[in-house]
Symmetry: D2
Subunit: 297 residues, 4 copies
């Protein structure tokens, strides 16, 4: 670490992700104080020179940056507010960096709390898993006051490979994190349904795995994301009416081998709505118009 006036860091929350991050911050030469509800988890940091605090308030006293790496909205709020909360200890102008995935409305609330206190809240949810945290190869999207974020650069560098500035709005990066996790778990669900259908149909699982990756890497997906983004569903590459037929056949084939396909059922319902709205000759990606209609757009 280059010499800097801002080198006092507090780290709250020493779980699977927090511990390796805190260790990297220590390694980078910061003056680190840690707090964890279960005290035993602080030992590994103390052994390497970190200070130990008895409460969030105490841990924040005198620090330039307080980082939280906690489970959920409630635990972040509990560690921030109240008699023993970090706000009670944080100096004016201090910076709270939230690394956990919290709800957008929780991020907004933290922002308000710090504004009242004369301190700053920066949303910085991390992307990556424990091995990336250890290796220091995490990605983080950060949002909040640009000037304040500029002061955090050397700290971000200590525990991430890349940080990307996303603007002033502290809510939006949490929405992005949630959306990416939603895409991931939805992919898992689809894989799960396809594997189960395949297993019950007597297909070879390794062959199916290859097929899935073929689809995921197929250039047609780029065409679909563009169609959806631009709302361009005509002319059809694959007509919605034919798509409805195929999804119906899939559900029929799956019921014959007695495999329920929950996502397929959901999509079938949506395709029925699309047909009811006269979209039979549009591209089947026009189900996006139904999604938008159902969101009042």
């Amino acid at each position: 670490m280059t010499e800097t006036a801002l080198n006092k860091v507090t780290f709250i929350g020493l779980g699977k992700m927090g511990t390796p991050i805190a260790l990297n911050i220590l390694k980078a030469g910061f003056d680190l104080t840690v707090y964890n509800r279960t005290p035993g988890k602080m030992d590994v940091l103390a052994d390497r020179g970190a200070n130990i605090a008895a409460s969030p308030k105490e841990s924040a006293a005198g620090s330039d940056f307080v980082m939280t790496c906690l489970m959920d909205d409630q635990s972040v709020l509990d560690n921030t507010s109240g008699e023993d909360g970090l706000l009670a200890g944080l100096k004016p102008g201090g910076v709270h960096i939230g690394t956990a995935t919290v709800s957008p409305s929780c991020a907004a609330k933290l922002d308000r709390l710090h504004n009242s206190h004369g301190s700053h809240y920066i949303s910085a949810p991390i992307f990556g898993r424990p091995d990336a945290a250890e290796a220091g190869t995490l990605l983080t999207y950060v949002a909040g006051n640009a000037e304040v974020i500029a002061r955090c650069e050397h700290l971000f560098a200590a525990y991430t490979q890349t940080h990307i500035y996303m603007g002033e709005d502290v809510k939006v990066v949490n929405s992005i994190k949630l959306a990416m996790n939603f895409v991931l778990v939805s992919l898992i669900e689809i894989f799960s349904e396809v594997y189960t259908f395949s297993e019950k149909s007597g297909m070879d699982a390794e062959f199916i795995e290859k097929l899935i990756h073929t689809v995921l890497a197929h250039p047609v997906l780029g065409e679909y994301t563009t169609r959806l983004r631009t709302g361009d569903f005509e002319p059809a590459a694959f007509a919605l009416q034919a798509g409805f037929k195929d999804v119906s056949l899939m559900l029929q084939a799956a019921s014959e081998v007695q495999a329920p396909l929950l996502v397929a059922s959901t999509i079938r319902d949506k395709l029925v709505t699309a047909l009811a709205c006269g979209m039979e000759n549009k591209d089947w990606s026009a189900i996006h118009e139904v999604t938008r209609m159902e969101a009042g757009l």
Copy 2:
């Protein structure tokens, strides 16, 4: 085309896919007869030297191969059976190549019909869209009697780039086709939900499009398809309990911007089941165990 005794081909169904395929077969030098319910669509083939027939039966008379490229189960069965059906005209030992996506049970029925007749049914659903059909770059998975398929090689070469042999069972390739289309439409649905959430949250659509492609290309997906295939959900890379929290937050954030997320709701229900079955510390991809349980596995 190399000289061969088997060069008489019938083609039934001149739609968006059928017409370019038939043209490529003609171009490859086969002696082609076509039939289409709406006669006007046969003109473009007749102009290039194809024979025209007045019924499926008439079209099949004397042919080595009869290809069907029709809309659905019912239309294939209607063109195959009955007084005017292709079976009534097809010679013993003749081969029926079905290129449409039909249900596995329809493929099995066609197979039985041809067996009784002394002819052969080959399942050969095509992958690709009209532009690939024109360019002759379609992919086809084929299933049925291996010897018979060997006799079709030069014909497959006329309208596809690649054909992959999948074994004797004529049902399975239809299941594969349906499964691949199911993956595609499910991806579209997920994209649609993410875009809609983003739009209502005030995010930039081009940024979201990039994020989606980042996820689709991420190596972690390979890890997930392997976990699901091998049933290996411990140790967790991302604990199911934490996954439940994130999906719940996503649904909460989406309801705050008033966007319904149907797939997320479905997955949330499944995660509740996984928690109820004691999987909170497994990887979140362990929802696959719920899918399998719900399929009686």
Copy 3:
């Protein structure tokens, strides 16, 4: 039975429902011929004086009325058409009475087949279970040519307590039967979700059973069916916004006891759409406007 020229009846399908119905017809003095795929099941009828036939065709020969009581669309069509089908044996002017729940489109197809043959198809799905069939207390809705139905009165009287004429359209009574069964199974699903939530919450099941019946008998349900029928959602008795809150709380409470509530999730999504469409101050039964919108109305 009063003396009548029309007393020759054929009965096809001697299952759990068919056998007691056929016995009642026999008891009423009709000249009965039966056919069943599994011949052994005809013995009990033969013992009481029924004639036995070797095929649907043979069974229908000379009969005034042919009744079918079969499993599904396919079995009714198989017993009707083809070389050995009942149509091949039925005299012009003969009447086919279909008692099973078939699809509306199957009913329409049977109607067309009989029209071509110069005979008549009457849709007469039965309501009631084996004990009601034995007791002759079934209910049937009937549809088809009114004059033909008038000729069947004495036959309906032999196996039902009530028959209600529903007009000429043979499809509609099948839709009604399906709709009533749908209401029934949906109620079962709701009961199932409530019981499961209650069981996991440690409530007394008998108390819950009483509550369910209290709701089912509550006059407010009449108010809701009227609101939906007339589209009258203002002023709100219970505002949609508050309903959304309660359904969300229910899902949260259920996830805390780890019970997935699939119908509640579906309704929550629909309420989000209603909110997105600006219905927050309408009565919560205004979700009907979403249902209608999703059906293109």
Copy 4:
């Protein structure tokens, strides 16, 4: 009101329900103080002799009972805790009666807060709508310390027709309230789906309304609730295999008239699971076994 030492009542939350309840309490002779965030809504009570307070804390000072009739968890907690909350004003031994539908976990939290304070929390969610509140014919289920509840009897009598004691656990009555509202909204959803299917099928809505009420009043529902409660699914009155067929036909019929039936799709998936688990010959109400399995039971 009979003479009693405990006649000082505070009422917080003067909405559509709260105002008529507070008026009835005043009418019954209690010494009433009210607080509402929007002060104007207190005028009608003040005109009739109620005292007005400037905060929850002030309103609770000196009162025997503090009633809250607020929108949701957050508003109840906000009015209870904090510097200006009712707890800050409530005397030891005072009683807080919560009449709103809050989450079971919120009720538990309120109970803990009062225990720490030396006061009491009573869960008393109300059943009924504004007209019943005016008429004083509300129903309330109450839970909490029995002795404390005995002291509230004359107060319950002032604004309800019936109050039913449900034991010590303050959570359970909130679960009951949520469950009853869930049954109601689920019935509305089913009615909505049936009406929409009927409308698109060209049926008469008044006829359908009668059918719905016929089903709701049918004795078979009692048989089903008993089967579910006792887990008695054999012998089948209506076999699950046949039920699956009918739900599939319903979905097919509905897709032909282009009406999506979301609940039917959900049930179809569950029936597939039941078939996969070998329940084809059980009564179709055996889907309850799937619901229980999905809840880890």
